[in-house]
């Protein structure tokens, strides 16, 4: 009779002592992550030796890397048909198409993100501490608002959970190689991401000014537009610019499906083992992202500093 009770007392106190002496939640989480990592390595049969390339691969890799310092300025093909435009023009055209696709997608996404982000923000629904008296408003706050809020959150998650390349595959199957399909394929997941982050920015913005406008008789829409939104706008525009950079990369990669963006030419050159051209296209993409980064930084300094 005393044996199990003694055992349970011992184990309980030992656990408690270990817990108090610092294992705690943090230790538990770190331990669980380590176990998960090891398990994954075993399941995937990870072997560092797989990273050692074969002789052919090594030579190709060397050649590819060595061309990094010698990007092509003219075509590397042995035969270039008469009337083909020079390589730099082709690169610039690809850059232009990449920018156009990205810009079209991000404009749609910012618009949708602002609308859905506002609906998914709790700042929109905050209760007027003195104005809950009307029955209509009580019903609205108790039942309509949570449904709109929750529904928007679910919609945002659905849009985000499918990657733009998967959307592209879907739309390619449905509409063929149409420009609009490509734009929508980028715009849908980007709308979801923008909406989620916009909602969080709005929720974290200080609400004192909004409360002051409400106290001066402003309606909820006015409070939102002129008390809350202005304070969130610098962060919102900074994040939108960052997503524009991401959209440029997505737009470039969409070229792999046949759209005339950087990815299309990049893949073609790579397949022909024209590594100099590959680097030219890569540098064009890097330059593009750097320019957008510099541009957004300059705008932010003007608005925020």
């Amino acid at each position: 009779m005393w044996l199990p009770s003694l055992a349970s007392v011992w184990s309980e106190s030992a656990w408690l002592r270990a817990w108090r002496s610092g294992i705690g939640w943090r230790g538990l989480v770190i331990g669980a992550l380590a176990v998960a990592g090891l398990w994954a390595a075993v399941v995937l049969d990870l072997d560092p030796r797989d990273l050692v390339p074969g002789p052919g691969g090594l030579a190709q890799g060397k050649e590819f890397l060595s061309r990094a310092f010698k990007p092509a300025l003219t075509y590397e093909a042995d035969f270039v048909p008469e009337g083909t435009q020079p390589l730099p023009f082709k690169v610039l055209k690809a850059v232009r198409t990449t920018v156009i696709f990205a810009a079209a997608a991000i404009s749609l996404a910012v618009l949708g993100g602002l609308i859905l982000g506002s609906l998914a923000s709790t700042a929109w629904w905050f209760e007027d501490p003195a104005g809950g008296s009307t029955r209509l408003r009580r019903v609205f706050l108790r039942s309509v608002a949570p449904v709109v809020y929750g529904g928007t959150r679910v919609l945002i998650s659905l849009m985000r959970s499918v990657h733009e390349l998967l959307w592209a595959v879907l739309f390619l199957a449905a509409f063929g190689l149409s420009n609009f399909a490509a734009v929508i394929a980028i715009a849908i997941p980007y709308t979801g991401t923008l909406a989620k982050v916009f909602a969080e920015i709005l929720d974290e913005s200080p609400r004192e000014a909004a409360a002051a406008l409400r106290a001066a008789g402003a309606s909820p829409a006015q409070v939102f537009l002129f008390g809350l939104l202005p304070q969130a706008l610098p962060d919102i525009s900074a994040y939108a610019f960052y997503r524009f950079e991401c959209a440029l990369r997505s737009s470039a990669v969409l070229g792999f499906f046949g759209y005339p963006t950087l990815g299309y030419y990049l893949a073609a050159s790579f397949e022909n083992l024209h590594f100099g051209e590959v680097w030219t296209y890569l540098y064009a993409l890097i330059a593009l992202v750097l320019v957008v980064d510099w541009w957004s930084g300059a705008l932010r300094r003007r608005f925020v500093a």
């Binding site: 007027d128 003195a130 008296s133 004192e208 000014a209 106290a215 001066a216 006015q222 202005p230 304070q231």
Partner: protein, 269 residues
């Protein structure tokens, strides 16, 4: 400024936060049109809650708050907004939008009662006469040159004047100020209180102001309400108050010995 006058009244008002913390306890108060009243008392006495009740942004747990004899609890949301439009508040934390210009922060005072399109026009393309009026008010509070400055580039004292200007641009009948001098140096504090009292007097506004600074309260406000633990310890014309009243308001021992020597409760309606 228009001479629209307004009175405020509290009747047996109690406010409970979270079901138990009692911010105000059976308070009675009447502030007549054009009257100037100061609320004094230690921190946590309920001064801010009292001002929030008077501005129609806090519901009393029990009792009635009346603006011009109409019970705020009975109003529809639209009517409540109409009442709030007539009450200008200078908040303790100023509650300005830091990354907007002074002009726009002041313009925002008059959003109440406008349509969304009308308010967008006011804020984005303000009519010349409104800009002119904002400039006039900024001149009155002494920062006319800051009209197009970004608000977060101003000093604490200047920002406070923006908050005052916004409340005045609202063209209120009642001016409420919650510790308007807590964020400025003593010299500025004096100026600010003087300014608020002076403007209210000239425009016939009803003025309610909470103040930590007893000296300023006694100098500028003709009537003082002493709050402590959500109860009015006194409510009298300032010239009928003496040092003993203020001593009892802040005295610490009374908290423990209320059974022996109860704090006198004045009920003035």
């Amino acid at each position: 400024m228009k001479g629209r006058r307004a009175s405020l009244e509290l009747e047996e008002v109690s406010v409970l936060f979270g079901g138990q913390t009692r911010a105000l306890n059976g308070l009675n108060l009447r502030v007549g049109p054009g009257e100037r009243v100061g609320f004094v008392g230690p921190s946590g006495a309920g001064k801010t809650t009292l001002l929030r009740l008077l501005s129609g942004t806090q519901r009393p747990t029990s009792g009635a708050v009346r603006f011009n004899s109409q019970d705020i609890k009975q109003l529809s949301l639209g009517q409540l907004r109409e009442v709030r439009r007539r009450i200008g508040t200078i908040h303790q934390d100023l509650s300005l939008v830091p990354n907007l210009r002074v002009l726009h922060n002041v313009l925002a005072g008059r959003l109440g009662g406008r349509s969304i399109l009308g308010s967008a026009r006011l804020m984005l393309f303000p009519p010349p006469q409104d800009v002119e009026r904002v400039h006039e008010i900024l001149e009155m509070v002494g920062i006319a040159d800051k009209l197009y400055e970004r608000t977060d580039r101003l000093s604490g004292g200047q920002r406070q004047r923006v908050a005052v200007a916004r409340a005045l641009f609202q063209e209120p009948s009642v001016l409420l100020a919650d510790e308007p001098v807590s964020s400025v140096d003593p010299a500025r504090a004096r100026e600010t209180v003087e300014l608020l009292v002076d403007i209210s007097q000239r425009a016939g506004l009803t003025l309610c102001m909470s103040l930590h600074n007893l000296e300023l309260a006694r100098e500028f406000l003709p009537r003082l309400v002493g709050l402590r633990d959500g109860v009015a310890i006194f409510d009298r014309p300032t010239d009928r108050l003496d040092d003993r009243d203020f001593y009892s308001l802040y005295e610490l021992e009374n908290r423990e010995s209320t059974d022996v020597a109860p704090i006198p409760r004045f009920r003035v309606v």
